[in-house]
Amino acid sequence: MADSPFSFFNGFKLTFQHLSRPRVTSSYPKEKRPKQPRQHGRHVLNRYEDGMEKCIGCELCAGVCPADCIYVRGLDNPPDHPVSPGERYGYVYEINYLRCIHCDMCVEACPTEAITESKMFEFSFTNRADAIYTKAELVVDDNGQPQRLPWEDWREGESDMTSGWMRATAPAGNAEYEGVVQWSGDLGVGIRAGEAGQNGERDDAATGSKQLRDAFSKHLLPEDVPLGRNTMKDRLAKLKDMVPEPLMDRWGPKDKS
């Protein structure tokens, strides 16, 4: 193909074919692509199923933060109405989003899975005071959902799976621990099921990445789409593989190399 004198026109053919192909871009602010399951967005402070806050005011997040954007002060729990199940609770919790780089080190450092990140990263405040999120804004509401501030653009799915599940990677990739729940329950949702990722059975409902894969594969050339996507063509290709080779040499498509 490349050596034929008409290969000059391959570019014309390709660009013309593209006219009828689906678009790979989306009209961004109007519609957004589905977020990756562990997208790093705006933080949330989680609560246990009984409504207690998970934060114990240990300041590990503030210590590990490379951008120095977290300010925490702990206080002893009042004995008559404790805020967290532990000895202490986060009395002051502030994140400065002018500094935060969404590296998720705080999420990794947190011993109680109190701080995690939602998938919402599109928020634009118009003054510096709004950039500093206080505890009142970060703590999830009584339904376990992140609070929605007027300058934040929440879309569907961005407030899902924001709890300790965020950290639920199998430790060191050890398959024995796969699917074993090792995170605490959350207000409103309870204990989330584990994600079955490494054994090849993709749980698309849990990861939310199916739409994304579909959107991209639609644009791929037929030869680029991996086999086993269960289209008619793939089944034919699989059948073709099952045909013994001597038969293939006789009737199969001739290799023109």
């Binding site: 570019g11 014309f12 390709l14 660009t15 013309f16 593209h18 006219l19 192909r21 689906p22 678009r23 790979v24 871009t25 989306s26 009209s27 644009h219």
Partner: protein
């Protein structure tokens, strides 16, 4: 009776100029101007939309249905931008240059026959702003002037990239103009007239009379390539090569002056599509159904349809072809296009005299092309061989063997070869 005027047969208005004639001319000019401006708006939208489609993007979509008003929004934005003139600029020439680019683009469209004849209140006139006897020469003159627009813009900016760009522009446009002129000569030979109206009427009797088939495909191909280079459109847009020259000749321009260049470029694209249709595809010629009162509409539709096809082609070129290197561009123009158009013109001219002259010319051109090919071969050895005066652009500073000797650590043998 002398009020009935045939603008085609009476270009100098020997019968006197009445108010009706003036009104018709004024209306024609205004309509052509308005239509061209509207067409430019649509062309910019069309290009952006089509390019985005070919690149699997969405393209403009916010302003108006399908983003049709995007150009208008861009124009308004440019209108309110600050108009900067660089300190080092030659102020007068800097201000003049955009108009030198725009006005030829506008004027060229005047000679394009858009439709047949129309009779309004006993006045019959051509759907063409002007039909001067020099006709197609006006195209060459105007494209000659528009070189000045580009060249002076780059020179007067007082900045090095625009200057480089303008040097490229003038060299490129002048060298491709030769091939362009040669193909036009072929057409003029076939028609026997310079007037665009005559060129169109000569092709009006069916597809086989269209110059694209009548003269063989070669003049059309040469014309298409040369006019693309003349327009500085991809793949010949070395003048505006963003990767090499920032923005090219209009790097220093902003605001409305930049908009004028932009306008001129797209206006030229439309005009040249129209010229190509006029010269090779019979202009408004085409099948006309016999419906009374609106018969005159169909030639216009034919013309528009054919022009849109070429506008599409230009955009397709941009999507499909990578930009040519500058030296490749020049050698392609001088070594291939000009000899080809010249040879084809001689053959066509021979066949117009009689068959034996035609075959004699064909034989002559064949011999000449063989000689030319041989001379190019000799020239290539002089360019790359041991006798080369200058190193070839893009060549390695040392030969492959020498390089290998150095990189393989055998430095001494490498030096011995020197």
């Amino acid at each position: 009776m002398h009020l009935v005027l045939f603008a085609a047969g009476d270009p100098l208005y020997d019968n006197g100029v009445g108010w009706a004639v003036l009104a018709i001319v004024a209306i024609k000019v205004l309509v052509a101007f308005g239509a061209l401006m509207g067409a430019v708006t649509l062309m910019i939208w069309f290009e952006r939309k089509l390019i985005s489609d070919m690149q699997s993007r969405i393209g403009p979509q916010r302003w108006g249905p399908f983003g049709l008003l995007q150009t208008l929004a861009d124009g308004i934005k440019l209108f309110f931008k600050e108009d900067l003139i660089p300190n080092q600029a030659d102020r007068f020439v800097f201000k003049l240059a955009p108009y030198l680019a725009l006005i030829p683009a506008l004027l060229t469209f005047a000679i394009v026959p858009v439709g047949g004849t129309v009779t309004v209140a006993s006045h019959t006139f051509l759907l063409q702003v002007a039909d001067p006897p020099i006709g197609i020469l006006l195209l060459l003159a105007m494209s000659g002037i528009s070189v000045y627009g580009v060249m002076l813009a780059g020179w007067s900016s007082g900045s090095k990239y625009p200057l480089l760009s303008s040097v490229r522009a003038s060299a490129q446009m002048i060298s491709y103009e030769a091939a362009l002129g040669m193909t036009i000569v072929t057409i003029v030979l076939a028609t026997g007239s310079l007037s665009t109206h005559d060129i169109v009427t000569a092709q009006a009797h069916g597809v086989w009379h269209w110059n694209v088939l009548r003269l063989g495909l070669v003049p059309f191909a040469v014309f298409l390539i040369a006019i693309t280079a003349e327009l500085n459109r991809p793949p010949f847009d070395v003048v505006e090569a963003e990767s090499e020259l920032v923005g090219g000749f209009h790097t220093e321009y902003s605001s409305l002056r930049f908009a004028l260049f932009f306008l001129a470029e797209f206006m030229n694209t439309i005009t040249m599509s129209a010229i190509m249709v006029t010269l090779f595809f019979g202009g408004p010629a085409g099948w006309v159904p016999n419906i009374p009162h609106i018969r005159w509409v169909f030639p216009i539709l034919w013309f528009l349809g054919k022009t849109v096809v070429f506008a599409f082609c230009y955009i397709w070129f941009r999507a499909a072809l990578p930009r040519m290197r500058y030296d490749q561009l020049m050698s392609f123009g001088w070594k291939r296009l000009i000899p080809l158009s010249l040879g084809w013109m001689l053959v066509v001219a021979g066949f117009f005299v009689n068959k034996s002259w035609g075959f004699a010319m064909a034989a002559l051109v064949l011999v000449a092309s063989l000689a030319l090919t041989r001379s190019f071969e000799i020239g290539a050895t002089r360019e790359q061989g041991p006798e080369s005066v200058l190193p070839v652009v893009g060549a390695r500073p040392m030969s492959a063997e020498k390089l290998r000797a150095v990189t393989d650590g055998d430095v001494e043998s490498g030096e011995e070869e020197n």
